[in-house]
C-alpha cells in the first residue's frame, strides 16, 4: 500500500497533470470576482448559476477545499520526488572526492582508449596536464607501472533542481502559515481621528488592534496633467493611555511597519469638510456678509432671529460639485431644508426668509484607507524566492564534470583509458577533451 502510494507520488506525470489542472482551474477565479461579499455575488448571478458556483466555492476558490487539495497533492508529489532525487545524487554531491572505479571505463558516456608507449612519468605528466586543463588538479593513485587519476568540478550544481523544488515547498508552506496565522484588512481613518478597528478582507469581520492608529494628516498631490503624484498619510500609533508610541508617513510603495504589522496606503476619500465660508445675501436690502463656520454645526445668523444649521457635506451632488445640506430655522417658521452650492451656482435660490446662501470656500476633510496586514509566513516565502533563484543559477550556469584517466598494461604495451561525464552539455566537454588529447598527449601512440 505504502509502496503504491510512494510510486503514485513519485510520478512526474502526476506533476504534469497537477500543473495543467491547477492552471485550468485557476482561470475560473479570474472570471468570477473573488473580492465581493456573498450577498453582492448573489445579486450578480441567476439563482441556479449562483448555487452551482457557490457549491464549488467559486467566489473564494483559491482557498476552497478542492484547490487546497490540489496544492497538497502537489506538495506530496514534490516531497516524494525530491527524496528520490536526493537518494540518487546524495552520494555524488556529498560522497568521497576520490572516486576510483574501473567500471567508469565501461559505463561512462564519454570513453576513450589509447595504446601508448614510453616513460610512465611522461605519460602521467601529460595526462595530469590534460585533466588540469579540462577540469582541475586530479587525485592520483600511482604504482610502479600504472596510475589512476580522478578529477571533478561543480558537484554542487546538482543541488540546483532540488533547491528549486524545496523552494516551491517553502513558498507553499509560507502561504499556509500566512493564511492560518496572518490577517489582512483595511481601516479608514478620518484626518485627525484615530481607530483600532480593522475590517478584514473576505468575511468582512472586524479585528481590534492592540493600539489606536491616528491619522495626523492626509495629503494627495497631483501632476500638472491631473494624474496623482503622491498619496501620503502621516500616521501615529497611540496606546490606550493616549501616548504616542511611534509616528511615520505612509506612502504608496513605502509602508510603515510597526511590531510586525504592516500599514500600506490603499485608498482615500472625502469624509466631509471643515472651515466653511458661507456667503449670505439679503435680496431685499442687498446686504452681504460672510459666515465662517468651522464644522457641521448650528450657527445663529447675525440678525439674531434665524439659525443656520449645516447638516451634511457632499463632495459632489449629482454632478453639481460640492454642496452642503443646510436648514434655516427661524422663530415660528417651519424648517427650511435646502442645499448650498458653490458660489455662483444657479442652483442657489432665494430662500423664504429672503436670503441667498452660497458656498464660498471650505477645506476638504479626507479619510485615508490604510491596509493593515500581518503575515508570519512571509519569511519562508522570501527564503523560497532566494533559494529558487540560487537553484536556477546552479542548474543553468554550472555543471558537474568528472574525468577519470587510467594507465594499465606493461611498459611495452600501455593502455591509457579516459572516461568523462557531465550532467549538462556533455558535447562541449567531449569536444574539449578530444581537443586537449590531440594537443597535449605527445607520447608515442601505438596503433
Amino acid at each position: 500500500m505504502t509502496g503504491k502510494l510512494v510510486k503514485f507520488f513519485s510520478s512526474v506525470k502526476l506533476t504534469v497533470f497537477l500543473f495543467l489542472v491547477l492552471a485550468a482551474t485557476s482561470i475560473l477565479g479570474t472570471l468570477v470576482r473573488q473580492d465581493l461579499p456573498l450577498e453582492t455575488q448573489r445579486s450578480l448571478y441567476s439563482p441556479t448559476v449562483f448555487s452551482v458556483l457557490n457549491f464549488f466555492n467559486a467566489f473564494d476558490m483559491y482557498h476552497s477545499w478542492w484547490f487546497t487539495a490540489l496544492l497538497v497533492l502537489l506538495a506530496l508529489n514534490i516531497i516524494v520526488c525530491t527524496r528520490r532525487q536526493f537518494a540518487r545524487i546524495g552520494k555524488l554531491v556529498f560522497g568521497s572526492r576520490e572516486h576510483f572505479d574501473d567500471a567508469v571505463f565501461r559505463t561512462s558516456p564519454i570513453r576513450r582508449k589509447y595504446p601508448v608507449r614510453g616513460d610512465i612519468e611522461t605519460i602521467r605528466r601529460e595526462s595530469d596536464d590534460i585533466v588540469r586543463e579540462l577540469i582541475s588538479a586530479p587525485a592520483t593513485k600511482t604504482s610502479a607501472d600504472s596510475f589512476f587519476m580522478y578529477a571533478e568540478k561543480g558537484r554542487y550544481s546538482r543541488l540546483g533542481m532540488p533547491f528549486v523544488h524545496i523552494s516551491v515547498l517553502l513558498i507553499l508552506f509560507g502561504g499556509v502559515i500566512g493564511t492560518l496565522f496572518g490577517f489582512i484588512g483595511q481601516m479608514n481613518i478620518i484626518e485627525g481621528e484615530q481607530s483600532r478597528e480593522v475590517t478584514l478582507y473576505g468575511d468582512r469581520e472586524t479585528k481590534n488592534l492592540e493600539f489606536d492608529v491616528r491619522c495626523d494628516k492626509f495629503t494627495v498631490d497631483f501632476y500638472e496633467t491631473g494624474m496623482p503624484r503622491e498619496y501620503r498619510s502621516d500616521l501615529s500609533i497611540v496606546d490606550r493611555g493616549g501616548e504616542t508610541l511611534a509616528s511615520n508617513a505612509v506612502r504608496v510603495n513605502h509602508p510603515f511597519v510597526y511590531e510586525g504589522l504592516k500599514f500600506c496606503q490603499a485608498s482615500y476619500g472625502i469624509a466631509g469638510a471643515l472651515n466653511y465660508l458661507v456667503g449670505v445675501r439679503n435680496e431685499e436690502t442687498g446686504e452681504k456678509l460672510n459666515l465662517r463656520i468651522d464644522a457641521v454645526t448650528e450657527m445663529s445668523l447675525p440678525d439674531g432671529e434665524a439659525v443656520l444649521v449645516l447638516a451634511k457635506f457632499l463632495p459632489d451632488y449629482k454632478g453639481q460639485g460640492p454642496t452642503v445640506l443646510a436648514a434655516l430655522v427661524g422663530p415660528g417658521e417651519k424648517r427650511d431644508m435646502f442645499r448650498i452650492f458653490r458660489d455662483g451656482s444657479r442652483f442657489n435660490r432665494v430662500r423664504k426668509s429672503g436670503l441667498t446662501f452660497s458656498l464660498k470656500d471650505f477645506d476638504v476633510l479626507y479619510y485615508t484607507g490604510i491596509q493593515v496586514s500581518r503575515d508570519p509566513g512571509v519569511v519562508f516565502v522570501w527564503t523560497g524566492f532566494i533559494l529558487i533563484i540560487l537553484g536556477f543559477v546552479l542548474h543553468l550556469f554550472f555543471s558537474h564534470k568528472r574525468v577519470w584517466v587510467k594507465l594499465s598494461g606493461s611498459p611495452e604495451n600501455y593502455e591509457l583509458w579516459v572516461a568523462a561525464s557531465a550532467d549538462k552539455n556533455r558535447k562541449a566537454l567531449e569536444e574539449k577533451l578530444d581537443g586537449l588529447i590531440a594537443g597535449k598527449l605527445a607520447v608515442e601512440q601505438t596503433t
Partner: protein, 275 residues
C-alpha cells in the same frame, strides 16, 4: 530627436532583416544571412538608442523614469526583448529560420505601435504605485521571458506546420528534432526569467499593496503561464512526450502569455490596469 521617429525607422529595419533572413533560409546562402544579421544588429542598436533617447527625454520633462511604464513603452520594450534574446541565444540555432521568426515578431509589434496610430506614445509621469525600484527588474525579467516564449511559439507553429505541410515543403524546414530541442531550450530560459519576473513582482506587491500574493487576475494569469510552461518542462522529463504534444503545450503557454500581458488589462479588472 524624437524616440517615436526612431522606433518608426527600426520598424522598417526589422522588416528588412526578417525578409533577408527569409531569403537566406530559402536560398541557403551565407551571404544574405550575414547581411540579415548585420541589419538586425543595426536595428537593435537603433532600437536601444530610441529607448535611451526616451529615457533622457523623460528627465528633461522633469518626470524622469525608465521607459517601461505604459502600454506603448511596454510594447516597444517587448519588441526590443525579442531581438535581444535572439542575439543572446543566436549561437544555439544554426538556421536563419529563427531569425525570420524573431525579426518578424519584433517587426509586427513595432508596426502595431508605430503605424496603427491608436497607441498613445506620450511620456507620462509615474503614478504612485509605479514609483518603485522594483519597476525596472520586474518589467525587464517579465518581458525577456515573454520574448523567449514568443520565439518558442514561432518554433512550435513551425513544428505543426512541418507536420501537416506537403512533404516537399516540409522537407525544406529544419528537422523536427531540432525544432523540438530549440523550443525546449528557449522555454527553459524563459521559464527561469518568468520565475524571476513573478518573484520581483511579488516583492514589489508586498511593498505597494501590502501582500506578496493576492490572486489578482494579473498575478493569477502569470501563475497560469508559469504552470503551463512548468508542465512543458516536466512533460519532457516524464518521457514519451515530445514533438506534437509539446508544441501544443508551447502554443497554449503563449496564448496564456498574451492573456497575461493584454487580456487581463482589456478584459478583466484588476490592480494592474496600467499594464
Amino acid at each position: 530627436m524624437n524616440d517615436a521617429f526612431l522606433v518608426g525607422i527600426v520598424t522598417f529595419v526589422y522588416f528588412f532583416a526578417a525578409f533577408m533572413y527569409l531569403v537566406a533560409f530559402v536560398f541557403r546562402r551565407t551571404g544574405p544571412a550575414k547581411a540579415a544579421m548585420a541589419t538586425a544588429f543595426a536595428g537593435l542598436l537603433l532600437h536601444s538608442s530610441a529607448l535611451i533617447v526616451r529615457w533622457i527625454e523623460s528627465y528633461r520633462l522633469g518626470i524622469g523614469h525608465a521607459p517601461l511604464s505604459n502600454f506603448y513603452e511596454s510594447m516597444v520594450f517587448f519588441s526590443w526583448s525579442i531581438v535581444f534574446v535572439f542575439f543572446v541565444m543566436k549561437k544555439t540555432y544554426r538556421t536563419s529560420l529563427v531569425g525570420v521568426i524573431a525579426m518578424f515578431f519584433a517587426f509586427l509589434i513595432l508596426a502595431y505601435v508605430s503605424l496603427s496610430g491608436t497607441v498613445d506614445c506620450r511620456i507620462e509621469p509615474l503614478i504612485p504605485a509605479l514609483q518603485s525600484n522594483w519597476l525596472i527588474s520586474h518589467v525587464i525579467s517579465s518581458f525577456l521571458a515573454y520574448a523567449c516564449f514568443t520565439i518558442a511559439f514561432g518554433l512550435s507553429v513551425l513544428y505543426l506546420f512541418k507536420h501537416y505541410a506537403p512533404a516537399g515543403f516540409a522537407r525544406a524546414l529544419p528537422d523536427s528534432s531540432f525544432l523540438d530541442e530549440a523550443t525546449h531550450r528557449i522555454i527553459s530560459i524563459g521559464f527561469v526569467l518568468l520565475t524571476v519576473g513573478i518573484i520581483t513582482g511579488a516583492a514589489w506587491a508586498d511593498r505597494a499593496w501590502g501582500r506578496y500574493w493576492g490572486w489578482d487576475p494579473k498575478e493569477t494569469w502569470s501563475l497560469i503561464t508559469w504552470l503551463v510552461y512548468g508542465a512543458f518542462l516536466h512533460a519532457r522529463i516524464a518521457r514519451g512526450w515530445t514533438g506534437m504534444k509539446m508544441s501544443l503545450i508551447s502554443i497554449t503557454g503563449f496564448i496564456s502569455v498574451i492573456f497575461t500581458y493584454l487580456g487581463v488589462n482589456y478584459i478583466l479588472a484588476g490592480l494592474h490596469s496600467y499594464l
